[in-house]
């Protein structure tokens, strides 16, 4: 097991390096630089722009910039944002709590919908409940989040005027009022993301459970006279969870990465909106940091999923 872990971690190093090289090159080759707006402003002499570019090392060859970045990263220096001159780690930390709360909550909502609904629908395939769940799931994941987001805003904010649609990080209320306001402003983004994710997962859980429920060991368990709930939980769900775990684990880095579209619609200051604004202003250090952390998390959660397999199914061994 330890050997397996070490081997996996060693394999991760070249893949991370590869990812960083690709990211960096793509960003360097993309048109534009962070001082685009200066170029179109007649009042700013071109020398100022040249000075700024030089001070940020933008005129060095790509490979040199890459190695500068890499060595700084290895020393734990993430660099600073070209645009705001704040350290990138600080920028990310500023955005992290909101992202974790909103996106994390939406993933929990998604799981809370997908697991019970998917399992229940699979234990009674083609029943009325299954049909309705299926239909809703189809609708859920065929509607893109930007559409449901706007729909929610139009209905709950504009028509009913119940919920605010601009997410604020500086709620002035205190005590339970604060919690109430927080709930009111979070509920729409969380639901939009949660329902979308939940719908997709429901379909997945259902089919995974259906696959298992027909197997011999389940029939045996039934023949033994075990109660249905125990069969479902211990013999069916546990086995069906293996593919589900893979899917959920691969989705987990999103909790960090944020949801670009939904964050933009509801003005949630999460990491997704940080990333998109950094991309729009060609703020390379921020883009690199966010995408790189994201890549690390993807690799980490992949590993975690592999380890979870072993716990769920002892037949899987690590060599």
């Amino acid at each position: 097991m330890t050997q397996y872990l070490i081997r996996r971690l060693l394999i991760a190093i070249p893949s991370l390096l590869g990812i960083s090289v690709v990211l960096f090159t793509v960003l360097a080759l993309a048109p534009g630089d962070p001082f685009e707006e200066l170029a179109t402003n007649p009042a700013i002499p071109p020398e100022v722009r040249a000075n700024l570019r030089a001070s940020l090392g933008l005129d060095d060859p790509i490979w040199q910039r890459y190695f500068n970045w890499l060595f700084a990263m290895l020393r734990g220096e993430w660099g600073y944002s070209f645009v705001s001159r704040i350290d990138v780690d600080q920028l990310i930390l500023q955005r992290l709590p909101v992202t974790l709360v909103v996106i994390g909550a939406s993933q929990i909502v998604a799981l809370a919908i997908a697991l019970p609904v998917g399992v229940y629908a699979a234990t009674r395939p083609y029943s009325i409940f299954d049909q309705i769940a299926n239909t809703l799931a189809f609708i859920g994941f065929s509607l893109p989040t930007f559409f449901t987001g706007l729909l929610f805003i139009l209905f709950f904010s504009v028509y009913l005027e119940w919920l605010p649609f601009v997410y604020r990080t500086d709620l002035s209320e205190t005590g339970w009022r604060w919690w109430w306001e927080q709930l009111r402003q979070s509920i729409m983004p969380v639901m939009v993301l949660g329902l979308f994710q939940g719908a997709a997962w429901t379909r997945f859980v259902r089919s995974a459970v259906l696959d298992v429920i027909r197997l011999d060991h389940v029939t045996t368990a039934r023949a033994k006279g075990l109660p249905e709930s125990r069969i479902t939980l211990r013999h069916v769900v546990r086995n069906a969870l293996i593919p589900v775990v893979t899917l959920v684990a691969l989705q987990m880095p999103i909790v960090f990465g944020g949801a670009i579209v939904t964050e933009q619609i509801f003005r949630v200051p999460g990491i997704g909106s940080l990333l998109i604004s950094a991309i729009l202003s060609n703020d390379t250090p921020v883009i690199m940091a966010v995408t790189f952390v994201f890549a690390c998390l993807v690799i980490f959660f992949n590993l975690l999923a592999d380890i979870l397999y072993g716990w769920l199914d002892p037949r899987i061994s690590y060599r």
């Binding site: 534009g32 962070p34 604020r168």
Partner: protein
């Protein structure tokens, strides 16, 4: 109407022989608009020069207005006005920092940290145009309690002109000399006579920064100053907190130097999202007081306004959406560059073709069906302030006239219906940036052109590429590797000098200057150059205005530039909010004068 006539009439008004109203009426007969006429009087000294009635501030005590909530669909990322790239950052830093004077909506100066606006009459503006003396307001304090003085103003100049600092406003400070006369007086000295003296220390590029906090960061380490993110200014509101890219908060400054101001106890500027939902948050749900820069289809704004909670503010400025007809040949490469001034355009070198193109642009439909209130059609390149607006230009849409013109010039229709002459076919590449209204405009023009035997190939380039200064990319607007192109050029000051250098021959964009030159259409005209040189040194405001009008007429008359619509600033505010806006300055230029009607 000549300059002499004008001057005589102004003289009669001054002597009291002609009423000001009579003057305005007489000028109107010559096609001058009323605001233009009054402004002519103002600049000629026959009326008070400083802005009148920029603000009708009514609250009688400081504070008590609750919170002011402003929504920007772009978010501020830093708070040092000298590094503020883009309006969002400028506006955000402007809430704390102030210049000596700002530009009011009518293009006149409004004193802020200055005790008065310099003028020849009060002796602070040198007759020879070589210096201007600013008297500073007394008793102004920085937010940290230190006194504001002439030292801060001199320091701001030193800070900006230092190339190591790389301040974005450095262009306004490089060629001037600033002298401290006493603690509350500074003199700005120019190398040569400078009619436009209100550049340094004025408006968005003129905000004064505190010497005691930036002194140690006035070099290559300028970007590490802690004050860059925790501003200490003289403005009506003090800094509370800032999350880059998200939220800026400020609170009332109890020691503000203007009486009874500000009205609000605190403000917040929330950033992010998109323009349509920002309009919605003000006009439809009323969650916010003010939404900035709503480049949204007018139809949508009208629908949102129907909720009757807020209204749309339209402030006229100098920004203009226009078409350029390339002077050079974009299809021929000379010395490694296309559109080189060594070439001439095969078709657009014929004035008849250019005139026909201008006749084929249906500006009224473009205004009516695409831009609405956000884009009134115009025949001039230089539209505002009104004193610089030419009364001589007319635009017309007539496919028939275009056809006659082309027939007359010998451009005959070929078998495919496209006109040609001497193997030159009227087939043009028309490029612009990707933006729905622009693509619709392109389509309108293409349709009309088709009926006159001109084939337009429409090309749209992503904004980030089109407006980039990437030397390696062939699709940027400054390279202009197309026959025609369309975009908006911005006028950031109430003075047209900088704006009109877009057509002087020494500004031609080419390989040598990495396409940084401002003359993108590559038009060269000796008369224009001479007029521009003259305007640079002309101290008589009336003569100078006449020169700029002449320049406008020359470039528009050449038809190498076809003005389409002017782009006023569009914003939304709640019905009871009284914002003070100006297209010549930042949105927040007079935030201290904003109040809520009760």
């Amino acid at each position: 109407m000549t300059e002499d006539d004008l001057r005589q009439m102004i003289g009669r008004v001054k002597r009291g022989h002609l009423s000001r109203r009579g003057f305005v009426r007489r000028l109107a007969a010559f096609g001058f608009t009323a605001p233009m006429a009054t402004q002519l009087l103002a600049i000629a000294g026959a009326a008070p020069a400083a802005a009148q009635g920029t603000s009708s501030y009514r609250p009688t005590r400081r504070g008590g207005g609750g919170q002011l909530k402003i929504l920007y669909w772009q978010a501020a990322t830093l708070l040092n006005p000298q590094f503020a790239v883009g309006t969002t950052n400028q506006d955000a830093s402007r809430t704390f920092y102030e210049p000596l004077a700002g530009w009011a909506a009518d293009g006149t100066l409004h004193p802020i940290l200055a005790a008065e606006i310099p003028s020849v009459e009060n002796g602070s503006l040198a007759e020879d145009g070589r210096s201007v003396t600013w008297k500073l307001k007394r008793g102004v304090k920085w937010h940290d309690g230190q006194d504001f003085s002439a030292d801060d103003v001199v320091f701001t100049w030193e800070y900006n002109r230092n190339p190591a600092v790389a301040a974005v406003s450095s262009g306004s400070y490089r060629d001037i000399n600033v002298v401290k006369v006493d603690d509350h007086t500074v003199r700005v000295e120019f190398e040569k006579p400078t009619p436009f003296w209100a550049d340094a220390f004025v408006a968005s590029r003129g905000t004064i920064i505190p010497r005691h906090l930036f002194r140690d960061y006035a070099g290559a380490n300028s970007r590490d100053a802690p004050t860059n993110l925790r501003p200490v200014g003289t403005g009506p509101y003090r800094f509370v907190s800032f999350a880059p890219g998200d939220l800026l908060r400020g609170e009332l400054n109890p020691n503000y130097h203007m009486d009874n101001r500000p009205y609000f106890d605190s403000f917040e500027i929330k950033g992010g999202g998109d323009a349509v939902s920002a309009a919605r948050a003000v006009l439809q749900t009323g969650d916010f007081d003010y939404a900035w820069n709503l480049q949204v289809e007018d139809e949508i704004l009208k629908r949102l306004e129907a909720a009757n909670r807020g209204r749309v503010n339209i402030v006229e400025g100098g920004n203009i959406e226009f078409i350029q007809l390339n002077v050079t040949n974009p299809h021929e490469e000379v010395d490694g560059e296309r559109s080189s001034i060594k070439t001439t355009h095969p078709a657009f070198s014929d004035p008849a073709v250019r005139q026909a193109m201008a006749l084929l642009v249906d500006k009224n439909s473009i205004q009516q069906f695409i831009y609405g209130r956000g884009g009134p059609a115009t025949a001039n390149f230089l539209n505002n302030p009104p004193r610089f607006r030419s009364p001589n230009m007319r635009s017309e849409f007539s496919i028939q006239k275009a056809n006659e013109l082309l027939d007359g010039a010998g451009w005959m229709r070929g078998r495919d219906g496209i006109r040609a002459k001497n193997n030159v076919r009227l087939r043009f590449v028309f490029q612009t940036s990707v933006n729905a209204p622009r693509q619709r405009t392109q389509a309108i023009i293409k349709q009309a052109a088709q009926r006159a035997g001109i084939d337009l190939e429409l090309k749209s380039v992503t904004s980030s590429v089109f407006f980039s200064s990437d030397v390696a990319n062939p699709d940027t607007y400054t390279k202009f590797y197309a026959d025609m192109q369309m975009y908006t050029t911005t006028m950031t000051q109430a003075d047209p000098q900088l704006f009109m250098n877009q057509y002087v021959s020494w500004e031609v964009a080419n390989r040598q200057n990495s396409w940084q030159g401002r003359n993108i259409v590559r038009w060269r005209n000796d008369e224009y150059d001479a007029a521009y040189r003259e305007a640079e040194a002309e101290l008589d405001p009336v003569k100078r205005a006449a020169l700029f009008i002449r320049m406008n007429d020359l470039i528009c008359g050449s038809n190498h530039v076809i003005p389409l619509i002017s782009r006023p600033l569009v914003s939304a505010s709640l019905n009871n909010l009284r914002p003070v806006l100006s297209a010549w300055d930042n949105t927040t230029w007079l935030l201290g004068d904003w109040f809520r009607e009760t």
